[in-house]
């Protein structure tokens, strides 16, 4: 599993792991019952503290995205797709909310904002 840690980011490392696993599940790169690397394995791969990986896994377990099988390892939960889509919607909604409040502070109308959105979406594609 290739995750990337950005050490100049203001997002704590454990949250970067949580977000990236959500992203993978939301777009179908990880699906129910897929195994995740062990804490030690992922820590070595990313050169980070194993406690940080353990914390990210605990957070994901708490959200119902992954689960531990006794002495077998960690797997993606059957309900993970749903949970990750909820998380995805939350993250994207927060980004739009920030962009909209910026735009509103410049006095843009909803129509103007929509125009920017359409233009950016075309540029992205």
């Amino acid at each position: 599993m290739i995750l990337e840690i950005n050490s100049s980011s203001s997002t704590p490392i454990y949250l970067q792991i949580v977000e990236q696993i959500h992203r993978r599940i939301a777009r179908g790169a990880l699906t129910a019952e897929d195994p995740l690397p062990s804490v030690r394995q992922l820590a070595l791969e990313l050169t980070i503290n194993p406690n940080t990986v353990a914390r990210a896994y605990l957070e994901l377990e708490f959200q119902g995205v992954i689960y531990k099988r006794q002495a077998q390892g960690t797997y993606v939960s059957p309900g993970a797709g749903e949970a990750s889509r909820v998380e995805r919607d939350r993250m994207v909604a927060a980004l739009f909310a920030r962009a909209i409040s910026e735009a509103a502070s410049f006095g843009m109308t909803p129509e103007e904002i929509d125009g920017v959105y359409q233009k950016q979406w075309r540029a992205h594609r």
Binding site: S10, P12, I13, V39, P50, N51, T52
Partner: protein, 246 residues
């Protein structure tokens, strides 16, 4: 609670003077078992002095240092610890092999197979004399000596300084394996924010002998509410160190 386990390190109002110079100034912190404590600070901040006080190579001028439940350093405590110093203290005339044999003779819990495993993994040239080792090779030898008896507490003074990126990664990977071992507590210092951020559970920033920040890695000021962006370790570090020199 009677007989409750204490933290492996408890430091209270610790001060150390060298003549008129106060190198460590009223420092207080704890290190919890099984965690990684990262000590960050610019050159000359007092990091090495603080670590020497922890391992018992220096005595406090005032205040207290309790390590593995003991206030004064005893040989028994030393056997439960590993230390990687920044300065060159190993005898220059010994070969790496002789250093390892010496460590084995002093430490009842020495694991020859483990030491050999670390040496081969780090590509350590054991036939050379200590005096001929490069900085990178010297650090590798020290790591081998510090970890060969699987200590409860490992103290490392700038283990990655002077290493190339591949060497840094090697050293950090070795530490990760030690941390993943049950119950191993790690204290290490660095002037590199990214090393500390990747490795530490708890961060302390030392500047001019004083602890300027102390808290979880994602909330170095210990404010209890890591605001997004405001808690970035790099930002806190720059603020803290520039305030002093300004």
């Amino acid at each position: 609670m009677e007989g409750a386990p204490v933290n492996p390190i408890e430091v209270l109002e610790l001060t150390r003077d060298f003549g008129a110079v106060r190198a460590v100034d009223g420092v207080t912190f704890d290190v919890r078992a099984g965690t990684v404590f990262g000590l960050l600070g610019p050159n000359g901040a007092g990091k090495s002095t603080l670590l020497k006080l922890l391992v018992g190579h220096l005595r406090p001028t005032s205040g207290s240092v309790v390590v593995l439940g003991q206030e004064s350093p005893r040989p028994e405590r030393w056997l439960r610890m590993g230390y990687v110093a920044q300065s060159r203290h190993l005898p220059a005339w010994m070969t790496g092999e002789e250093c390892l044999a010496f460590a084995r003779s002093l430490r009842p819990r020495w694991d020859t197979a483990k030491a050999a495993r670390i040496a081969s993994r780090l590509d350590l040239t054991l036939k050379s004399r200590v005096g001929q080792l490069s900085r990178g090779q010297y650090v590798r030898l020290q790591l081998c000596l510090a970890l060969g008896h699987s200590p409860e507490l490992v103290v490392l003074d700038e283990p990655t300084s002077g290493l190339d990126p591949a060497g840094r990664r090697e050293v950090l990977s070795l530490l990760i394996e030690e941390i993943a071992r049950d119950g191993c507590t790690v204290v290490f210092s660095s002037h590199r924010v990214d090393d500390i951020e990747r490795m530490a559970d708890t961060v302390a920033i030392l500047n001019g002998g004083r602890l300027e920040a102390y808290g979880p890695a994602e909330d170095p000021r210990g404010a209890g509410c890591p605001e997004e962006g405001a808690g970035s370790l790099e930002r806190v570090y720059l603020e803290v160190t520039q305030r002093r020199t300004a």
